[in-house]
Structure formats: C-alpha cells, structure tokens
C-alpha cells in the first residue's frame, strides 16, 4: 500500500472523527442533563447544513464576495438556525416529557427526526436533490513528502479540534459548565443548590445544537454537498460513539468518535472486497464492544445486578 494512499485515508478519517465527535458530544450532553436519547440531533444538524447553504445563495447578489466574510455569515446563519431548532425541540417536545417512560421520549425524538427530514425533503425547493455546498476555504494543495493534502482539509480538522477543546474548557471551567455537570451528577441536589434546572437543560441543548451546526459546516465544506438524508447516519454513528465511549462523559464521546472513525479506516484499508464493507465492519465491532463493555470504555460502573 503506498504512503500517499494511506495518508489520504488517515486524513479523511480525521475529518470523520472530528465530525462524529462534535455530534457525539451533543448526545452525551443531552443524556447527561435529561437522560434522553435525542435522535433528532442528526436531523437538526442536517437542518443547520441547509440553513448555511440557503444563507450562501443570496450573498453574491448582495455584493458579499469575500470568501472569508461569506464563511462567517454562513456559519452564523447555520449556528443560529440550528440552535433555534434545537431549542424548539427541547422546549416543546422533550421538556414536557419529564418523567415519561423512556420508550416515549425515545420515540418522540425518532419521529421528530423523521418530521424534520421529511419536512426538508418536501418543502425545501427541490429538497430531495443534493445541494452544492460552496467551497469557501482555499483549495490549494500542500505537499509533505509524498503526501498531497488540500489546505482546507487541514484547516477543517484543526477548526474541529479547536471547537472540541473549547467545548471541553467550557464544561470544565465556566459556571455554565459547572451547572451542567451538577445537573448531570444529581438533578435534585443541583436544584437545591439553586441551579435553574430548565435553563441548564435548555442551555445544554443550545450548546449541543451549536456543536451540531459546526459539524454540519465542516461536513458541508469538506464534501461540498449537502442532502436531506445526511443526518440519520450521523446520528446513529454519533450515538454509537457516545455509547462505546461511556454515556454522559465528554471525553468518552470524543474517544468513541475517534474509535468509530478508526474502525471505518481500518475497514476500508483492510476489508478485502469493497470499502463499503467498512461500515458493516465498524458496526459489527461496535456491537461486540457494547456487549463487552455495556457502560462504555470510560463509563460509570453499574453496581445493581439483577
């Protein structure tokens, strides 16, 4: 196997890992503050990607031609719309289900995901066609030895990593992060200590959705294409990552995401027939991992055994 090929695969694996991590952190936040498996997360992300795409369309007409300014505006639009949708989901569909059976909350998010996805497919103009997401970053190549990588690929990886690090700092260092951790640890006690529970839950959903928007932007800028069905698979992969890492645990979510992307890379490098088997391989390994470590690699240990 030649080095150029392997390095290309590793670089694209890194992009995937970053995207998965941004999604998985959102899942883990939601589980932490509300113990809800929010499957609409992936389609909220898709919505963010479409919002960014839509915001780009009129920019050239309005005389905004600088790619940097376009990038900033598109990102702002995407993040704003995604957070708004995430908050609507949280406020009107998830918070009212406090105390409802787990199955109900799970189903409502699954069905919300379907509503968002189908809504975009049916009501966005020609929503079922793939859309061409603009390339707003430099597209030159840099060569490091035999390795030839496009500049924007590297920029996206670093941007994604920076966002992940910043999120970690936000959770560890700020009052808001403290409140999230307090609620995740023990909701009752956190309430007693004067934490505004609803606000923290909504804040966590806003944060998670914002991260989804970042994932959507990276996804769009990397593949230069968005489509209405991109969210479901990202949700499933993001959630599997969060589970194998250990739910409710940011570091675990990131670890899980890198493991999943790693499995896909290994799958596409070494599976004999077709790289398409890499997904089958990755999911099969995930199932085995869940069987071996049901609470995740960095998980809380469940002591009740029945």
């Amino acid at each position: 196997m030649d080095i150029a090929f392997v390095s290309q695969i590793v670089v694209s694996g890194l992009i995937l890992a970053v995207i998965y991590a941004l999604v998985a952190v959102g899942f883990t936040l939601f589980v932490g503050v509300f113990n809800v498996l929010n499957f609409s997360h992936g389609d909220v992300l898709m919505f963010g990607a479409f919002a960014g795409f839509t915001a780009f369309l009129p920019l050239a007409g309005l005389g905004v031609t600088s790619p940097f300014l376009q990038l900033v505006l598109v990102t702002i639009a995407s993040v704003t719309c995604t957070i708004a949708l995430g908050l609507i989901v949280a406020r009107f569909f998830i918070l009212p289900l406090k105390g409802a059976p787990l199955l109900n909350t799970l189903l409502i998010t699954l069905m919300l995901a379907t509503v968002i996805r189908e809504g975009v497919r049916l009501f966005y103009p020609r929503g079922s066609n793939p859309k061409s997401f603009p390339a707003l970053l430099p597209t030159d190549f840099v060569s490091i030895g035999a390795i030839n990588v496009r500049v924007d690929t590297i920029m996206l990886i670093f941007a994604g990593l920076a966002i992940i690090v910043a999120t970690g700092a936000l959770i560890e260092r700020t009052r808001f992060g403290l409140a999230i951790r307090a609620v995740a640890q023990d909701e009752e006690t956190a309430r007693c200590m004067g934490v505004n529970y609803r606000l923290v839950v909504l804040g966590a959903f806003a944060l998670g959705s914002g991260l989804a928007a970042c994932a959507a932007m990276i996804n769009g800028l990397y593949y230069n294409e968005v489509n209405y069905s991109m969210g479901l698979m990202l949700a499933i992969i993001g959630f599997c990552s969060a589970i194998i890492g250990g739910l409710g645990n940011i570091a675990g979510a990131i670890l899980g995401a890198f493991i999943f992307a790693g499995l896909q890379i290994v799958g596409s490098l070494f599976m004999p027939f077709s790289s398409a088997y890499s997904d089958v391989f990755a999911f099969a390994v995930i199932l085995v991992l869940i069987a071996l470590k049901p609470t995740g690699l960095i998980g809380e240990r469940v002591s009740e055994r029945v």
């Binding site: 498996l37 059976p101 189903l107 919300l112 509503v115 199932l287």
Partner: protein
C-alpha cells in the same frame, strides 16, 4: 336460579346481537375502505372510525360490566374474523383489494411479533424490518430448492430470524433501558448495508422470490373454479395470511392470559423487583425476543413470496420505524391496537393517494402529537384477564 337463567339468556342475546352488528360494521367499513375511490369519503370513514373508537372505549371503561359491553367484547374476535373472511370472499377476483388485505394481515402478524417484544417484555427492537427481511431472503433463497415444501420454507424463515436475533442478545441483554435500542438500530443499519453490497443475495438490486405453492396449488396464476368464477391468485395468499395472523393473534392472546404474560409484564415494569421474586430476566427477554422475531420472520417469508421481488430498501431503518409506528399508534401492549395501527399505516396511504408522498411526514407528526397528548396510544391496554370475558 331463575334470575341466573334469565341473565344467561339475556347475555346470550346481547352477545348474538353484538356479534352480528360488529361483523356487519367491520365488513361494511372494510369494504368501503377498500373500494371507495372518493378521497373525501375515505377521510369521512377514518373520522368515523376514530370517533367510534373513542366512544367505544369510553363505553367500555365506564360500564365494563354491562351485559352489552361484555357481549361485544367477548364476540369481537369472532366478529372481526368473520368480517375479514367475508371481505376475502367478496373480493375473490379483485387483485388489488386482495393484495391490500394480504399486506394488512402480514403487517398485523409482524406487529404482533413486535408487540410481544415491546408491549410485553419491554425489549426494544428497532430492527423489526431487518428480521422481516431475514424471512424474505430466506424465502428467496430456499424457494429455489424445488423439493422443499413452502410451509417448511416459511417456518425456516422464522427460525433464521430467531437465530440471527440470538446473535444480538449478548449486547441487548447487557445494556440497560433505551440504550439497548441502539444495539438494534446499529444492527438494522448493518443488515441493510450488508445486503446492499454483498453479491450473493442480489446486492442492492434485490432478488426474485418464487411464488407460494401449497398442497399442489400454485399461487402464481389465477384459479378458474368454474366458468365465470375465477379466483385471483392473491386469494390463496389471503387465506394463508389470514391463518398466519389468526395463529399469531391466538398465540399472543394465550400468552397474555397466562403466567408467561404476567412474567413478561413483570420484566418490563420493574427489573429489580422481578429479580427479587425469582424471575430470570434474561430467560424471558430471550423468550420474547426470539418468539417475536420468529413470528416476524414467518410473516416475512410469506411477504417475500407475495411480492415476488424483494430489495434491501424494504428493510431499512425507516421501515422498522413504520413497524414501530403501528404498535405505538394502536396503543402499546394492546393486541387489538395492532389491527388499528396496521390499518392506519398500511391501508390509509394506499387509499389516500393525495397523502402518498406526505405519508411518512404525516405519520411521524401524528405519533409526535399522540405521544404528547395521549401517551398510551389510541387504544390503551386493558387489564389482564386470564380467561374470556365474564370469568375473571
């Protein structure tokens, strides 16, 4: 004594009246739903159905002991069965109506399998379509072996679904609550992806399935009984599908009305409590998961033969979600709700062409609304009775 006799006679009278009335009502409703072309009438029928259910349910909960209600409830299974038999006979030559009836009955069977898993044991299975698909593909492969009788093929479809489900059990049993659902979701995705890329089972293109033949009857061609009377080849499928659905329904009913049903409920409702009273959680989850998948697989094998061509998109995650929607809409744990849910999910889009494109959106929105307003579904589950109405 005389009072008892009088009551007994009156009970029988009420029951007979209820049987006739319910049969007529179901038959007329089914016939209208299958033949009326005007979409406004279809909508009116559905509104009537919804109102009828709400009224009936109110009646049943308000006066559960009144003779009429008991008569109606105890004869309902017979009435529904009679109505379906009548529909099959009336539409014996109408391909399209029979096809709809077959599809409906097969989905009822599948939903009964899921109902065992979700409704009783509380084992979440979001890969229902995948197990359905295992049944279909088993039929596709095994019907190529000419010496293998088709009833055996159908049973094997169920066996393979149950066996492949067994492989999923270690992660399902070791994960708690709704996290277990992720295991089945991941499996569902894995399953469709695998089907799409592998070449042995037709890949993304799908596979042909030979038609069903039972006891010498080849169900790929119309049957001419006598000059003027021709049975659609779907007639045979409808009979088999009805037998399958009735069998599954009877099995599920017996399970509900037994210690097994009680045990499954206990497992779903409180695992710690159940363990403290000796209930082997794993054993009963395995029982419900495997039996449910078996039923789904058998139905899948019949579906494959009915459709004659199957392809991976039939068995995707969204197809699994539609199956779950059937049991949620009907009311989880209520085996009658399955019939209601299947009618809504299978028949309505076929009859309301206008919504065809919007059907997924509509059903998803409907379920979201229902879960917010009526978390137990359209027809919530009733208390367990160990024997028919009137005894206990």
């Amino acid at each position: 004594m005389s009072v008892t006799t009088r009551n007994g006679m009156r009970d029988r009278m009420f029951a007979a009246f209820a049987l006739v009335a319910t049969t007529l009502l179901c038959f007329a409703f089914g016939r209208a739903l299958l033949t009326v072309n005007d979409e406004r009438i279809v909508v009116a029928l559905l509104v009537t159905l919804a109102a009828g259910i709400v009224l009936a349910e109110r009646r049943v909960t308000r006066a559960p002991d009144s003779a009429l209600v008991r008569g109606a409830v105890s004869t309902a299974p017979a009435a529904v069965l009679l109505a379906i038999v009548a529909l099959i006979l009336v539409f014996h030559a109408n391909h399209f109506a029979l096809l709809l009836i077959c599809t409906l009955l097969i989905y009822v069977t599948v939903a009964l399998g899921l109902h065992l898993q979700f409704g009783y044991a509380g084992v979440l299975n979001f890969a229902g379509a995948a197990f359905f698909g295992i049944g279909c593909y088993t039929a596709a492969v095994l019907t190529q072996l000419a010496w293998l009788p088709h009833p055996v093929v159908m049973v094997l479809g169920g066996v393979f679904a149950a066996l492949i489900g067994l492989a999923l059990l270690p992660p399902v049993l070791r994960t708690r609550g709704h996290y277990a659902s992720v295991v089945t979701i991941a499996f569902g995705v894995l399953f469709t992806t695998f089907l799409e890329i592998n070449e042995t089972f037709g890949g993304a293109q799908g596979m042909h399935v030979a038609g069903l033949s039972l006891f010498g009857f080849d169900m790929t061609r119309n049957i001419r009984l006598s000059p003027g009377v021709t049975l659609s080849f779907y007639f045979g499928y409808a009979v088999v599908a009805l037998l399958l659905a009735v069998g599954a329904f009877a099995l599920v009913t017996r399970i509900e009305r037994s210690w097994i049903g009680l045990t499954l409920d206990a497992v779903r409702l409180d695992e710690t409590r159940s363990a403290c009273f000796g209930i082997d959680l794993a054993r009963w989850k395995i029982f419900a998961f495997c039996l449910g998948n078996f039923i789904i697989g058998v139905a899948g094998a019949l579906f494959g033969m009915l459709m004659s061509f199957i392809a991976p998109p039939n068995f995707s995650f969204s197809a699994s979600l539609m199956l779950v929607a059937i049991i949620i809409l009907g009311g989880i744990g209520n085996r009658w709700g399955v019939l209601l849910g299947a009618t809504l999910i299978v028949l309505v889009p076929e009859r309301l062409q206008t919504i065809q494109e919007y059907r997924v959106l509509l059903f998803a929105a409907l379920i979201v609304g229902l879960l917010l307003i009526r978390p137990n579904g359209l027809a919530p589950r009733r208390m367990r009775r160990y024997f028919g109405e009137g005894s206990a």
